[in-house]
Symmetry: C2
Subunit: 250 residues, 2 copies
Amino acid sequence: MKETLTEKLIRRDAYFKEHYMPGISVDCVVFGFHDSSLKILLNKLFDTDQWSLPGGYLNKTENLNDAANRILKERTGAENIYLNQFKTFGNLQRSEKFFAPYTSDLWFNQRFISISYYALIDYNSVDPQMDEYSEACEWLDVADAPEMMMDHTVIFNEALEQLRKDLNNKPVGSNLLPEKFTMPELQRLYEVILNKELNRGNFYRKMKRYGILDKLNERRTGGAHKSPDLYQFNEYKYAEALKNGLQESW
Amino acid sequence: MKETLTEKLIRRDAYFKEHYMPGISVDCVVFGFHDSSLKILLNKLFDTDQWSLPGGYLNKTENLNDAANRILKERTGAENIYLNQFKTFGNLQRSEKFFAPYTSDLWFNQRFISISYYALIDYNSVDPQMDEYSEACEWLDVADAPEMMMDHTVIFNEALEQLRKDLNNKPVGSNLLPEKFTMPELQRLYEVILNKELNRGNFYRKMKRYGILDKLNERRTGGAHKSPDLYQFNEYKYAEALKNGLQESW
DNA sequence: CCAAAAGTGTTGAACTTACACCCATGA
DNA sequence: TCATGGGTGTAAGTTCAACACTTTTGG
């Protein structure tokens, strides 16, 4: 017979009490880019209709950033993911409703402060993995994000806002795209993050002017039309340019 | 006979265990502007040579932002201070050295995660107040910041970096200056935050073009030369302009 | 009346925006 | 052959840095 979510939480209670810092959780908003749209990686918990951000707890002997990396590795199989801690959520009521059915002495049902990261990852390098409390782990389209548990919708929205602000200051492009990509793909990434259309010619020139891309002697074949050139980021020049920001208004 | 810092911490141990969340502290980097330079509010603990950021703990029945506001009110006497949560610090070793002399069962000597805010405040509205563990609470010049305890120097540097980035996106000017100020004062604020000189004429025009300032029918008299006009921020227009950022490179 | 500071004008360079055009090429 | 993408041209408008000029005011 299948163990319910409640039974699972009760069974794991003592283990968590021993190994994890009380009151501190780490949540990750994992962004990917696929099929010209921005995706987010979400779990679906057993016994609920709601989705949740991949998250976990802080081991007593673990650094904060290491916890975020560990949690992401468990969920995506990938290592060295680009992570950006963007805000810590600590309102009293943030998990009240969700845990209302549980007894208050349950470890999981204490007041938690959520230290939140957003992660940027090459969609194709991810193999979404469920955790022990979930019945699904999937990429969903940011444009129609589902209802999420607790305050995860708030966390997600703030992550998206921060991503938008970081577009000219953080290596967003190189972390969301595969190593080789075409100029139209890069433009679509910018458009979908900024949620507005950009002029093709100007985008092309602007990107070239930054000098952060290397043009490869390859093209993407197999498409329906002219094979577009492939580019890759010049990591050194990209990093240099980001030090002062890309200084553009888009 | 004066109670030592150690004695004080031991005496308060049970009280904190009862009322405050374990493992979570809130630190504030408080910025002010005075005499053409950027200042930071620091405490000096008893029995040490090091300075510390004003900080405190999170009450079990208190929201995160409320804790930051409470701590600031205790230290500055001011309410409704502009606060910006910018990062959470949680390395294992962050307080190791500092608390090494204390026994490990002391509440204060557990592993703490520091949720850090920077605060912007009108220098003149502050009456620096020592807490019970300090022998001094003073404004010090950011340009020659002293040695600080634990990882507070790191926290301070990241706050300053964030402030620089936020200059065009957050109401930095209106929160650091008194209600009425002159254009040269505003320019000096920008210069000291950005750490570079700006062209006077262009600064003047740019500020006017934003339309975020109201020119008053008053001047600052008493100076050695021409009395400059006084301005104040038009809060509504300032807020509107900040929604999209001030879009300037300075 | 003069020095210093406030405030304004001007100008050339640079950049943005928006649109248009040509070429290449794969289905 | 035609739709899509690569690459370039250009005109109009905007912004910027730099410098110089005028105005104001305290001593």
